[in-house]
Symmetry: C2
Subunit: 587 residues, 2 copies
C-alpha cells in the first residue's frame, strides 16, 4: 500500500446517493470522469476482472464460444432492423471523417446475426452459442448511482442460434442454469422475474434481479412462486358480465368534481338528488367504480407526427408510465401538453369520457378489468358533468386493452395464489427468446437436410458485468465499508502492520505477506508509515475478507485474524500462520 | 472443429494486399465490419489475449499498475491541452443527448495526468507507473491492411510520473527493457529507431519497428548502430563557406527549363553562351548544384487562415512530405493549389527564387545543406530565367532550416560512421519522454520535502496490442498459411484425425486430445467429417506450431508429428505420446 495507486477518502462524494457508489469511490475503486462514465483504479479493476472471469467460465461451461465485435459500428445493420431509429436518443451516434454514420454499440444482435450468416450455411452447423464481454454504450437520460447505471459499461452478451423452437428453449434453459451458477458464485441474493422484452422483440423473457432497496426495478412476487418485473405483470381480467338488466346510462350534473375524490364524495352525498334511481339512495360509490381517462400521445419510431391515445383505468389506480411504455414499445409515449388540449377542444379536462374519444376517432385502450358488461362512472365530456352506469359493450367499446394501471402490493397474484408483495432489485441479467426477428431481418437460414432453407431462431442473453461490481457492493457492505465475498475480493488477505515504523513489525508483516503469496494467496500489505487507526479503518473500508494484524502479539508469536464479514477476531500462532490462513481462505 | 465457430476461406479477400491480412481473414481469425473496424473470431481472440497477457506480465514486472479509463471521454481535458483541435479530423467526436462534446480516446495523456493529480499530492507518492490495455479510436484517413492500421484497436498505454529528469530517464529505461522482453517473447525481429515525438510533445523518443516489407514506416540504419525513423533523421550540415571570392550572382535566360533536369542540361550545353564566365565554359552542373523551391501552405491548429511556406532543397532530392509534416507539427501542411498561385502572381511556377519570396514576406525554410557561403542555381522569378551563383548569406538569407529533403540509402550516417541503408517496418511500440507538457497543462505538482511544489515530469509508452497480432503474422507465415510462435499460438497442438469417418481413428484422436489436455496443453481437434486433404490444408492455414496426425499408423501404434515451422515430420509411438508432445511444446 505504500506504493499502490490508491488514496481512500474520508468523506462520501457529493454526488453519491447509494451505498455502493459512496463506498466504491471512498475506497478508491472507481473515479468519475463524466456523467455515467467511470475510470477503474487498481482495486476496482481487479474486482471487475474477477467477476468477468466467473461470467466467462460459466459461459464456456455451457459451450459458449467467445468472440469480440467492435464497439464502433456502422449504421447499416441497425438500419436494416429499424433500431437506428427506434433507439431514439438512447444511443451515441457519430460521423466519421467521410460523413459515414456510426453508432457505439448498445447491444449486438445485428452483428451476431450477420456473423453467423457469414460463416454458417448448413443445418449441420447448428446449434451454436456465441458470446462477448465488451464495453457497451448507451446515452442514458439519467445515468445514476455510479457504475450501477453508466453510459459506458462492461457487458457479457450472448446469443444462441437454433434450428427449432425446442432447440431455442434448450439454449435458453442452459443460459438460465449458467446464470444461476454465476450469481451464486458471486454470493448474490437474487430473484428471477418474468420480464417484458423491450425493444428487442421476442417472446419468453426473464430478468435476474439482485434484491436491493436501491434498485431501479420494482418487482412483485406471490406466495406461490410467481415473480415479475412490474412492467411484465399481467392483470387477470374478471369474467365478462351480462349486459341485460344493467341500468341505463345517465348523465348527471356533478359540480366541482374534477378529481376522482371530489367525484366520489359528490356522488355519495348527492346521488339521489342528482337523479340516480337504479339502486336507490343508499348506493355507495368508491374510486374503483369510476373510469379515469388519461390522455397521452404516441409516436412510432421514425414518424414525425404524434397520435392521440386515451387510456382508461379504474379511478382507484394511477397510470404507471413505465408499464405503459413497456406495453407500447417501440413507440414513444408522452403526456399531453396544454397546446395539445387547445388543439383538440373536444377534450374537456377532468371530464373526458369515452363518447368524445370515440366520436373524434381517438384510439382508446382500457385496463383489462374494464370487461364487457361492467358499468362505470366516467366523464361526460362537459365541465361539471359525469355519466353513471356507462356499460362496456353497450354504451362504448374500447379499441383494446393495455397494462397501464399501477401494480400494488396486495393485488391478487396472477397465478391465482395469494396476493403480491413488492420489492426492488438491480437488473443483473436478462435472458430471452428473441425468436426469428433478427433472422428475418437478415434472412438467416440454414440449408436443411432436404435442401430447403430453415429460418434460424435466436435467443439473447445479457449480464451487466460492471454493474455486478456495484450490485455485489450494494448487498455486501456495512457502516465501515465494503465486505467482499471471497470469489470477487480484490485480494484474498489484507495484512496490516499495526505500527507506524517499528522495524520488527514491518519485517514481520513483509515476511508473512511473502509466505502467504508463496502459499498461492493474493495479498495486500499495509506497509504505510501511518497510524494503526488509519490502517484499520482503511482495511474495513477496502473490504478484503480476511484481515491479519501484525501487532504487539508478534513478540509472543501470535497474530490477530479478523473476519471482515462477521467481525470475529481470533489469535493464531505466527508459526504455521500462512497454512492456517490459506485453509481459511479456501474453506 | 466440428463445433468451432470457424470457417476457413479458400480465396484471399478482395480487399487484402498484405500477407497477414489475407491469412488472418482466410484462416477465420478476424472479419471486417467497416473500414478499419474488425471483429475477432474465436482463434483471433485467443491470439490477441495471449499477446495482451505477455504485455501485461512485462508491465507488471516493472511495477506498472493497471487501471482502466473510459474510451468515451469529455472534451474538456483535451481542450485544456489544445489536442481537441490539434487532432483535426483524426479523432472521432460525438455529442451526447444534452449536446455535450465527447471524443473516443485516441490516447490518454490528459486522463492519466488528471488521475495522478486527483490521488497524489506528496513527493513521497512518486514515482509511479500506470498503464491500461484498452480499445482506442482514431479516424485514420487510410485504414489499411486489416488490423495493421485500424480505426478501433487494442493498445497498451502506460505513463510514468517522476519528480526529476533522472527519474524520468530511469522510468524510460525500464520501459525500454520491458519492451525488449515483450517483443522477444513474441519472437519478433525488430529494431529500435530514433523517432520524432509527433503531436505528443516531448524530447527523447524511440520507436520499436517490427521489420517487414509491408510496414508503413521507413527507417534507415548505419553500420555503426545508428537507426532512425526516416522522419527523425537529421541531416548533418556541412561547414559554412567563406563568402569572399564567390562569383557574383547572375541572371540568365534559360529557355524551356521548367524542370531541374532540363535546367541542368541547358546549363551544361549553353552555360558559356548564356553569359556565364565565372568558371569558364567547362563548368559542369549537376542537379545537386540547384536549389529547388517548393511552395506549401501551413495552418496552425485552430486557425482558419493558411500561411504560405517555401522550402528550398537541393535539386537532386525530392521533398518528403512526411518529414515536412513531422518537422512542422502540430501545424497542418498542404500543397499549393492553382488558386493559390493565381492569388500570388509573384510565384512564377518552375522559376520561383528566394528574391520574390523574401520581397513578398513568404516564410522560407531550407535544407540543412544550404549553409552560409554555398552558391546555388535557382529560379529568377521570371519565366525562362534562372540565377546562377546565388550565395547564402550574401544574396539571400533563409528564415531557418527544415528536415524536408528525402533521406536516401547511401546517405552518410548522422553518427559519422558509414552510409545509411533503408528498410521498412511496422511500428509496434513507441516510448518517449514527454517531459512537463501535460504536467504544465494541468499544474501537476508534488509537494516537495521543503514544502515547495515540484512539477512532475512524465513519460508515455505505447504498444499496439492488436497490431502485434498482424505484425507477428507478417513475420511468421509461409505460402500455406500462418506459422505462430508457441508464445502466442491459439492452441499448443493441432490434432488431425486423418479420415472422414473411421470410428477407430475418431476415437484415437479424441482420446489423444483428452490426454494432451490432461497434460496441461491446449488442443484443437479436427474431428470434422471431411477429407484428410481438407484437414491438412486447414491445419497449415491455422498455423498451430505442432500438428499431430492420427492416421493409418495408429493401428501399428504410431502417430505422425509435424512441426509447422520447419515442416519436419517424425513418427512417434502412440504410447507415451502425450508426455512426448508436452515435452516438445515446453522445450
Amino acid at each position: 500500500m505504500s506504493s499502490l495507486f490508491l488514496r481512500t477518502l474520508r468523506e462520501d462524494p457529493a454526488d453519491a446517493e447509494v451505498p455502493s457508489h459512496k463506498l466504491l469511490v471512498r475506497a478508491g475503486y472507481v473515479r468519475r470522469v463524466a456523467p455515467g462514465v467511470y475510470s477503474w483504479l487498481p482495486l476496482g479493476l481487479k474486482v471487475l476482472r474477477r467477476i468477468e472471469n466467473i461470467v466467462r467460465e460459466e459461459m464456456d461451461a455451457i459451450g459458449g464460444q467467445e468472440i469480440q465485435f467492435p464497439a464502433l459500428l456502422p449504421r447499416e445493420p441497425y438500419e436494416a432492423t429499424n433500431r437506428w431509429t427506434e433507439y431514439g436518443p438512447n444511443i451515441f451516434r457519430l460521423k466519421d471523417r467521410k460523413g459515414g454514420d456510426y453508432l457505439l454499440g448498445p447491444t449486438h444482435e445485428e452483428l451476431f446475426t450477420l456473423a453467423v450468416k457469414g460463416e454458417y450455411s448448413s443445418y449441420k452447423d447448428y446449434p451454436v452459442v456465441l458470446y462477448q464481454i465488451q464495453n457497451k454504450y448507451r446515452d442514458e437520460e439519467r445515468p445514476r448511482a455510479g457504475i450501477l447505471r453508466g453510459r459506458e459499461f462492461l457487458m457479457k452478451d450472448s446469443y444462441s442460434f437454433d434450428l427449432t423452437d425446442e432447440g431455442l428453449a434448450e439454449s435458453y434453459g442452459k443460459h438460465r442454469a449458467a446464470y444461476i451458477r454465476m450469481f451464486e458464485r458471486l454470493g448474490l441474493k437474487y430473484v428471477i422475474v418474468a420480464a417484458t422484452s423491450g425493444a428487442m422483440g421476442g417472446s419468453a423473457s426473464e430478468e435476474f434481479l439482485a434484491e436491493s432497496e436501491t434498485g431501479e426495478d420494482t418487482f412483485v412476487r406471490g406466495p406461490g412462486g410467481y415473480a415479475a418485473n412490474v412492467e411484465a405483470v399481467t392483470t387477470p381480467a374478471p369474467p365478462a358480465q351480462p349486459i341485460e338488466g344493467k341500468p341505463a346510462a345517465a348523465v348527471h350534473h356533478t359540480p366541482d368534481t374534477p378529481t376522482i375524490e371530489t367525484l366520489v364524495d359528490f356522488l355519495n352525498a348527492h346521488y339521489e338528488s342528482a337523479g340516480g334511481t337504479s339502486v336507490g339512495a343508499d348506493r355507495k360509490f368508491t374510486a374503483a367504480d369510476t373510469l379515469k381517462n388519461v390522455l397521452l400521445k404516441t409516436r412510432q419510431p421514425g414518424a414525425t407526427d404524434w397520435e392521440l391515445l386515451a387510456i382508461g383505468v379504474p379511478g382507484d389506480r394511477e397510470v404507471d408510465m413505465k408499464r405503459v411504455e413497456a406495453g407500447l414499445e417501440p413507440a414513444e409515449v408522452a403526456l399531453l401538453e396544454e397546446k395539445d388540449f387547445a388543439a383538440n377542444p373536444f377534450l374537456v379536462k377532468g371530464y373526458i369520457g369515452p363518447k368524445a374519444l370515440q366520436d373524434n376517432g381517438v384510439r382508446y385502450l382500457v385496463d383489462p378489468r374494464v370487461v364487457t358488461g361492467t358499468a362505470w362512472v366516467t366523464g361526460a365530456d362537459e365541465v361539471d358533468h359525469h355519466v353513471v352506469d356507462l356499460v362496456v359493450g353497450r354504451d362504448f367499446t374500447p379499441d383494446g386493452t393495455v397494462e397501464a394501471a399501477e401494480v400494488r402490493a396486495g393485488d391478487p397474484s396472477p397465478d391465482g395464489q395469494g396476493v403480491l408483495e413488492a420489492a426492488r432489485g438491480i437488473e443483473i441479467g436478462h435472458i430471452f427468446q428473441l425468436g426469428r426477428k433478427y433472422a428475418n431481418a437478415f434472412s438467416l437460414d440454414a440449408l436443411g437436410p432436404d435442401s430447403k432453407p430453415v429460418r434460424i431462431t435466436m435467443g439473447s442473453y445479457g449480464v451487466g458485468v460492471s454493474r455486478l461490481v456495484a450490485a455485489v457492493a450494494e448487498q455486501s457492505h456495512d457502516e465501515s465499508g465494503l465486505v467482499w465475498p471471497r470469489s470477487v475480493a480484490p485480494f484474498d488477505v489484507h495484512v496490516v502492520i499495526a505500527h507506524k515504523n517499528n522495524p520488527e513489525l514491518f519485517e514481520g508483516g513483509e515476511s508473512l505477506a511473502a509466505e502467504l503469496e508463496a502459499a498461492g494467496l493474493s495479498v495486500i500489505l499495509d506497509d504505510r508509515k501511518a497510524s494503526p487507526g488509519v490502517k484499520f479503518a482503511d482495511a474495513e473500508l477496502l473490504g478484503v475478507p480476511t484481515i491479519v494484524v501484525v501487532g504487539r502479539g508478534l513478540a509472543e508469536g501470535t497474530l490477530e485474524l479478523k473476519d471482515r464479514a462477521t467481525g470475529e477476531r481470533t489469535e493464531i500462532p505466527r508459526e504455521g500462520a500462512a497454512e492456517a490462513i490459506a485453509a481459511i481462505v479456501r474453506s
